[in-house]
Subunit: 793 residues, 2 copies
């Protein structure tokens, strides 16, 4: 072993202490993977001390514990507030150990005391039934990132740094994770981070060289290429490489000190207004062996430094005495007797290394404690006024834009907007009246509202929009993700992980609920007629509603006023995934401010003003959810009034889709009795925004389900007109009216006549479109055949 | 304008011809966006010549047509076979124009003749109801890539190049698209492409500077950073930049000639075995103005070279005479009278530029014409033998591995395997007996079966696995994508796009069906107990079944023998998305080779050997789909035989989920009569692999749907044991047995007793797991309480 080298600033003694802390954390990590008893090896290891199922990932641990130890050294020296984001999957053992050494683990999990009994419990519970997972899940204090599905660490870290000017977010990125698309895109953060008003992301790219069975790309491209790749994205790479602990300690300390000085310099310059717009940001490349300090070889096969160190280096410890002896030797190599006293408590040398102030495992921002509610304007100040339903047109998202603009003005430091280049396309321009689009790269005079400190983030990556927003929310701030409906599927897997996090987090009372993840889904399936089939997919709401009902919400406001009220509710809510689907095209308005507010509060309701069954005897119910289906349903109701004047039709609109669930399936579900009061026992023709089966999946246990006929998108998409999209999928006014009369027994004699009449009108509209290239005037503007609805006030 | 500069190889005259072709393609593109009549401007433009809805994207067109013109020049000079992949979205106008000029468009769409009438039709149909979309969709000859959702061009191009040693795939990458995660990861292609046996990908990064409303990142980072970023990924960037057509023509010609020489050199060296393992591959950076040659300014606002050129530069041409005059001026600026004769046919100078051999718009590989069916081994040679059901264990995926290994041996040049580092984890090791993992970056002795020409691709990016495989399939070859079930959601949006492509392609008989996209989904929800909630999500099958029934298939083989038979079927199929879900853990086997084959052919069936209703009078049906639910169902049947010996129980297993659809909803759907013969009119307790509502969504119109009780995954996930995962979600043997007896009226008096007994056994198993850390021995190995099933042969 070479002699310990330390520069003039870091005493050898300090680094020896850091090494001791590292050994303690490694010891505790190995213990978690293997032991359910005899935690301090006070007796020789016996089979019954070993867990029956060995689950855990050793490979990444030593690099993570090393990093944590060195960051703590920096925190002690500088008082810098830091968060720690752990990218490599299954690395929680390392952070459980760190939080236990810092005392935080025992604070939030009192049964895991910082003594021998607690150490035993810390070990036993890891990847154990009823225990904690092998990822940095919500159980872990200080964590905002699970790392179950890989690729989002750097985006989360970037989001956490936004508007946290005094924070450094240290982000360990696994070299396996670095192969994912999301992570590859995340390297662009320096083009967006504002060193004046944001905190700093300090990526630590951990090249331990291997994934499960393969080497990693970034560890096997030439060093010059790696350097170029990182520099090209705007980073200044600093290298810590080696396999000799003393040398690596000395180098890591030096490099971290340099990085911190550079970070301070960048901040100082930016805050004096004299720095470059986009300085190169420090990034650490840590190249150490996979499974470092673990068994070098087992059964003659090399382990340390190879892919075989990825999970459990010694696989048969319970059965195989030789493996067991190797494990004991491995554990004892950390010299636990120097690290813990007889009662299992960390010795002073270890606990003295805990930072004085809040440590990384106890930062209140990681536990939702720093959340400040939004000061929101009154929705009623933005709603559209009109005398009668269906007489005024508005673009729903444009109306919402005014509300969001003023929300931003009232909350200048904890509200952000994210979109893949679509705020203007989705007609939220009003927001850009009071802020710009964040851009730290080069700007030209001809650009439109780019700004180095803008609060709108536009990058053509749904992964980055979602990841940045998640990081921002997970540290207690608020935001909105606006995207095209079809392409929301790009983040399907991310919303799964976030929803799981939200649900699991509710089980830990020391975590406060964080602001909800709010999606504004526009450019939706019914108005992507011009963009064609590739842009037509309403399945994101199906996907979100497959997640736990405690955290998933879907809203389909029928008009602008409802949209504003729904969105205000979403921005006030906590701990949810809220999906709001709304159109951006001019569309008729139905509910005035007060009616919209009441309707959204109820989540669904009968629209008496459009119904003709007020004296009872409902013959058919026309139900709808979504703006275009609502339009077509009201038009169908008007057609029926024209063709069958005495038909008792009820119009029902659903805003909050979860209302249709039975109450034991979703907290928003209404009772069967309430359901029957709305939907009666008459046949229901339901025009739905999405796939028809979503309604059946929600309502299949409801009374009279066999009389529920849902029309929705059945993937009949193409490049056509708005009306033709409806016609192709059977949710147009004419086909809805046909479906309705087919359900009314007393009309059986008139059925052929009515059907012929309605289908003739349908054909006329479609053939006009195919000939002229646009919908007929009476339909293209989404008019309503007779704009004056029946009134029954 | 500067004088035309050409190097000694390219005569000025040749480049003038190229310029003429470029002008012709640009003229035809503008015509598609605007005109529905008067295609050659034989009379002054009038409003009725203009489409009522102006839809299209001009911004990207001139760079695409320029590139196409110059590639054709190279093809004429070198005879190099090329494919063209168009990354930028909505750029189809450019390629429609090119294919029309080459005559291919008229061959496949005979109504669009290469004359004046055809030109009119070419214009009219673009983004027109009943016409063609604005993306390079299946309507477009030569295209294998739609570009509706952005980010997959380079991955598709890479997949197309694999095993096509003589091909060059030119891939235009939009600088907007380049911000996506999938594209960012795709830059790593040089670490995988084998210049000896693969074709070459020639990326053309088109920096036109803007997205819809924003500049693009790669156009605004310093040139040195861009160069570093690309070099760091293994490319050798060559720059073509400018806004003077003559200069750009000269430069593009020179650079392309250099690139082609470099490509030939790399190929020659690789094929002589003397080149580097991973040579830097030529890449062209094309920096030209957005909307180049379009209107410089409209209404005093700059258009050309700004984001405002993205879509339709002149928005009000029908209404506004000034705009109309500008359009006419713009169109005439291409001097159509020099390019087309009076009858609308391209003049010789233009058509002489078509390559002599197959041109890019007519490559048979782009139309599925080069597909060669796989030579597959007999599945029966791989199935597991046993005397009685439930007496032998096997790992399903390991058994399949043997079959796939020999399939690879029999098809060494047109079958590839893709996975995010999971072939070994998913126990498909046998494949690696006969090939290696593809790796062109540095290799070490300690690596496991890396190979520069391996036929297994492992990279920790589901996007790359899917994108490469799609490119391979779209050019007529075969492959398998193996991935963890939960993380299949990463490619949710990609499978939407691919399924839409497959369905649309069926509408064009000149496209032959391509091999199916086969997913092997393993490490599934029920055996991710150890990895915790983040790894538990069975929703990918819901997602795929939301796509067109003509192209979507889901198979849930209950054991290894069924898996082999199902997979053989999938590998033989064409034009489908096949999702096969199968476990990798040791599990009991039920069907011998012949029975498995018959069961898979039927797709579902009664398992008489496990049923006790053979004399009729079925009292309850235990149905199941998926390997773990089948295990628990059979165990529940055994429990019922023990506790209620005279109960008439029928066991039904479903392999092909689509069989449950009504026949008008899916081509695999069986009739109601057939459904009733299988499921009887008794209550059905259905143990399902996925979310229970998927079964309800499929079967809600089936007879006796109100007696169908589905148990499945309800997102009760955590870190626990395999059995506890079942218990938490109510699909364990005990809860299934309870559900069954609850449905049998004659057992009402014994219900409390039976329920107590069953739930006591459940509690015992669960508390053992929580105490010991593993399932009780009689359950942990997925045993079956009495392994000898009833036999009724």
């Amino acid at each position: 072993m070479t002699t310990l080298v330390a520069d003039e600033r870091d005493g050898t003694a300090e680094l020896r202490d850091v090494d001791a802390w590292w050994r303690a954390a490694n010891y505790l990590s190995v213990g978690q993977i293997y032991l359910m008893d005899n935690p301090l090896l006070t007796e020789p290891l016996r089979p019954e001390h070993i867990k029956p199922r060995l689950i855990g990932h050793w490979g990444t641990v030593p690099g993570v514990t090393l990093t944590y130890a060195h960051l703590n050294r920096v925190i002690r020296r500088t008082g810098q507030r830091m968060l720690f984001v752990l990218g490599p999957g299954h690395g929680a053992a390392a952070l459980n150990a760190a939080a236990w050494l810092e005392g935080t683990y025992s604070e939030v999990h009192p049964e895991v005391t910082r003594d021998l009994a607690g150490m035993r419990e810390l070990f036993r519970q890891f990847s154990f039934p009823g225990g904690v997972p092998s990822h940095a899940s919500p159980h872990l204090p200080g964590s905002i990132h699970e790392g179950g599905e890989l690729g989002y660490s750097l985006a989360h870290a970037t989001g956490a740094a936004l508007d946290n000017p005094d924070l450094v977010v240290a982000c360990v990125i696994g070299d396996g994770e670095a192969e994912t698309g999301a992570l590859a895109a995340s390297w662009h953060a320096p083009s967006f981070l504002n060193p004046g008003t944001d905190g700093t992301v300090l990526p630590i790219l951990h090249l331990n060289g291997y994934k499960i069975a393969n080497p990693t790309l970034l560890s096997r491209i030439p060093r010059t290429d790696l350097d170029a790749l990182l520099t090209g994205h705007g980073w200044e790479p600093m290298y810590v490489e080696g396999s000799d602990p003393d040398e690596v300690h000395a180098r890591y300390a030096t490099v971290l000190d340099e990085a911190m000085e550079r970070i301070q310099e960048i901040r100082d310059f930016a805050r004096l207004g004299i720095g470059p717009s986009k300085p190169y940001l420090p990034l650490i490349v840590l190249r150490t062996p996979k499974g470092w300090t673990g068994p070098a070889a087992v059964d003659g096969v090399p382990i340390e430094g190879t892919f075989r160190a990825h999970q459990v280096p010694l696989a048969a410890v319970r059965e195989n005495a030789e493996h067991r002896a190797l494990l004991e030797q491995w554990l004892r190599s950390y010299r636990p007797e120097e690290l813990f006293d007889d009662r299992g408590r960390p010795v002073d040398r270890i606990s003295d290394q805990n930072p004085d102030g809040p440590c990384m495992s106890a930062d209140p921002a990681a536990h939702g404690h720093t959340t400040v509610g939004l000061r929101l304007p009154r929705p009623s100040d933005y709603t559209v006024g009109f005398a009668e339903p269906g007489t005024v047109r508005a673009e729903s998202t444009r109306v919402l834009g005014g509300f969001l603009r003023d929300a931003l003005v009232a909350n200048p430091h904890n509200l952000l907007f994210f979109s893949p280049d679509e705020h203007t396309s989705n007609r939220l321009d009003a927001i850009l009246e009071v802020t710009g689009r964040r851009w730290r790269a080069e700007r030209y005079d001809s650009d439109d509202r780019l700004s180095p400190d803008g609060r709108v983030f536009e990058v053509l990556s749904e992964h980055l929009c979602q990841g940045w927003l998640e990081g921002y929310l997970l540290t207690g701030r608020h935001g909105v993700f606006t995207t095209y409906e079809a392409f929301a599927h790009v983040v399907d897997s991310m919303v799964v992980q976030h929803a799981k996090w939200l649900y699991m987090a509710t089980q830990f009372p020391w975590r406060s609920p964080i602001p909800s993840l709010n999606y504004l889904i526009s450019s939706h399936v019914w108005r992507q007629d011009h963009n064609g089939a590739s842009h037509q997919d309403p399945g994101f709401i199906d996907h979100v509603l497959s997640k736990r009902p405690e955290v998933s919400r879907v809203y389909l406001p029928p008009d602008a006023n409802c949209l504003v009220h729904v969105f205000e509710h979403c921005l006030r809510s906590r701990g949810m995934v809220n999906v709001v689907v709304a159109g951006k095209q001019p569309a008729l308005q139905y509910l005035d401010d007060q009616a919209a507010r009441a309707h959204c509060e109820h989540g669904l309701g009968v629209w008496n003003w459009a119904s003709t069954d007020l004296r009872g005897g409902t013959e058919v119910v026309l139900a709808c959810a979504g703006d275009v289906p609502t339009q077509e349903t009201l038009a169908a109701a008007a057609l029926l009034r024209e063709l069958v004047p005495n038909l008792a039709v009820r119009v029902v609109n659903v805003v909050d889709l979860a209302r249709l669930f039975p109450p034991d399936r979703h907290p928003h579900g209404i009772s069967d009795a309430a359901y029957s009061r709305v939907f009666t026992d008459a046949p229901v023709i339901f025009a739905f925004h999405g796939y028809p089966w979503l309604i059946h999946r929600i309502a299949y246990r409801r009374p009279h389900h066999d009389r529920l006929h849902v029309h929705g998108f059945v993937d009949n998409g193409t490049t056509t007109t708005p009306f033709d999209m409806c016609a192709l999928n059977g949710i147009d006014r004419f086909q809805l009216a046909v479906a309705a009369v087919e359900q009314v027994p007393r009309l059986v004699d008139r059925l052929d006549e009515l059907r012929s009449e309605l289908l003739a009108r349908l054909d006329a509209a479609r053939s006009y479109a195919l000939r002229v290239g646009d919908d007929p005037p009476e339909i293209s503007e989404w008019s309503w055949p007779n704009s004056t609805a029946p009134r029954h006030e």
